[in-house]
């Protein structure tokens, strides 16, 4: 039981890493990037090529890919998103969905349907474990992923609240017109924000690639997990995403205990429950739910 609880927390860490980029883009640009999962899988292929074919050590490969994905993100904003945003809220959705379809199938053409793994690049890390008192073993990798999730959120929150560029991003997200009146180059700011969102996806790609076998069409499943974590947690601070990811992971682990197919089903049900609660409470968030409970 204790082991299952700990594993659920660690799984939540993985979902957090998945969801950071999606949540960041959604809160800053009000765009849900439907290609988020596809970009993560693309990054994973990048890591695989760098690591397995060119022998680049994984940490360095992650850094290289972050730069690559940042540039790709800037390009995405400049060519697709900025143009699509002018046509209303719907076009960015349609455009990113189209990009996801293109990327998924291009990766299938380029890399085939085989499942891949980054695990051989890191020696025994993918199966090594810590032993806790009570004869509980927990995977080292999952612990590191959770740590990365927490550090990444702390870093982004610090960046948004304490740095000048962070302030510029926040100003642009709150009121684009006023921000540009105040002399902020909003196009450039949004391009940087998109770049950051895609760069954090490389962390998710590393986690995805090391945890399990993956293939070119796995992006949509990762997108759904990330999205569910974001909706359950609520928008506002990235720490909420962490909470949402934990709830998602707990629901899934509970489901897996009830029925072999229950893992995904209970995750989706947790999402629906979150939507219901939001329906009841207007502005939805965990804290509003708690404060509502205390007021009545």
């Amino acid at each position: 039981m204790m082991a299952q609880l700990i594993n659920a927390v660690l799984l939540g860490g993985y979902y957090t890493v998945l969801a950071i980029g999606l949540a960041f883009m959604y809160s800053v640009m009000n765009i849900i990037n439907l290609a988020h999962g596809a970009f993560i899988v693309l990054s994973a292929f990048g890591l695989l090529i760098l690591g397995a074919n060119w022998g680049v050590p994984l940490p360095l490969a992650i850094l290289v890919m972050m730069v690559v994905m940042f540039i790709l993100g800037v390009g995405l904003q400049r060519t697709v998103l900025s143009r699509a945003s002018k046509g209303g809220e719907l076009l960015p959705l349609l455009a990113t969905f189209g990009i996801a379809i293109i990327l998924d199938n291009m990766m299938f053409l380029g890399f085939g349907a085989d499942s891949n793994s980054l695990a051989p690049l890191v020696g025994d890390l993918s199966w090594a474990s810590f032993e806790l008192p009570g004869n509980i073993f927990i995977g080292k990798l999952s612990v590191y992923i959770l740590v990365v999730a927490v550090v990444a959120i702390a870093a982004i929150e610090f960046f948004l609240r304490r740095t000048e560029l962070g302030h510029r991003i926040q100003a642009t997200s709150q009121d684009r017109a006023t921000a540009s009146l105040l002399g902020i180059d909003t196009d450039r700011t949004l391009a940087i924000a998109t770049g950051i969102a895609l760069a954090t996806g490389v962390l998710a790609a590393a986690a995805l690639g090391l945890r399990s076998a993956w293939g070119p069409y796995d992006g949509s499943a990762q997108l759904l997990f990330a999205f569910e974590a974001v909706v359950i947690g609520g928008i506002g601070s990235l720490w909420r995403v962490l909470a949402g990811a934990m709830i998602l992971a707990f629901a899934q682990s509970l489901g897996a205990m009830i029925h072999p197919q229950g893992f995904l089903i209970c995750g989706h049900l947790a999402f629906l429950a979150a939507v219901f609660i939001r329906l009841r409470g207007g502005a939805f968030s965990l804290s509003s739910l708690i404060s509502k409970g205390s007021k009545t």
């Binding site: 959604y26 046509g87 809220e89 959705l93 379809i101 997108l223 989706h268 999402f271 939507v275 329906l279």
Partner: protein, 336 residues
Amino acid sequence: MITQPKLTVARGGKTANITIGLMIFAAAILAATPWLFGVGGSGRAVALLVYILLAVMWNALAGFAGLVSIGQTLFFGVAAYATIRLADAGVNPYFAILIATGIGAVLGWVTSFFMLSLKDGEFAIGMWVLSSLAHLCVNLDPLIQGETGTSLISLNSYDIELRSKLTLWLALAITIAIFVILVLLLRSRMGAAITAIRDDELGARSIGVNVVRTKRVVFVLAATGTAAAGALWLASNTNFQPRAFFGVQWTAYMLFMVLVGGLGRIEGAIIGAVLFFIIETYFAAYGVWYLVGLGTVAVFFALMLPKGLWGWIGPRLPGEAIPTGYLVEKSKNEAE
């Protein structure tokens, strides 16, 4: 003295009459397909009708109600599954298709109560979550045997020629019925509200349009039409593999048809569906490249021609092809 120009308000006109004539002609050709092109032709005709249904419904949802859904496969797949289940319980398969369409409508009505509280992107993927939830639950049914799937066996009691004719005519009847309902809806008082929401949701709300109720009506209609399409697709292909019905490729097709044809115009959706049908006929054999091509064209249209082909053709025609609005004309010198 001030002369007041006399205003005449008209609906339709020459373009509309020609369009109606063309559509009746097309319907007649489709109805006669079994004699013109045999059993294979009937199957293709059903495919065309299913594409038209999907495109018109997705367009009503995205173009008019402003609701982009990635998970309309929820209704598509659930209706096919319901048809299988009903037929297994001994219901006549054609009657089962109609009931399954009704089930789709009810499912749309129920889900609308919480899904419509989500906005834009959240609604889009929220529907996807619902669709994959339905997919997982359908897989649990022992009758379906997981991804292996099953067939609409009771259709075999019909001779193959009779079966293909019945399926085609049912598909034609349902498509026409849903199309007429949509056009009547758009021409009604609520249609004015729907068009107002399409053009400016905030503005519509400010002049007293009940946005949520209006969206719900469109959402339920779209659910109904998409469910009908799913049940008909099953009747035409007889095999039910959950992945083939809940798969995300259907969303890609809908997106392609509507974006290329023209978001927010019924004429556009129909043109998009016909175009997709032609492309699919000639290029589907290219498999993955075909999907890449569809995605690329859809993104190109979203960025470069967001109003689609009809956005280019429509304004060049005198009047509306499918009249849902009013034409106001000034006739001079009446008062003098």
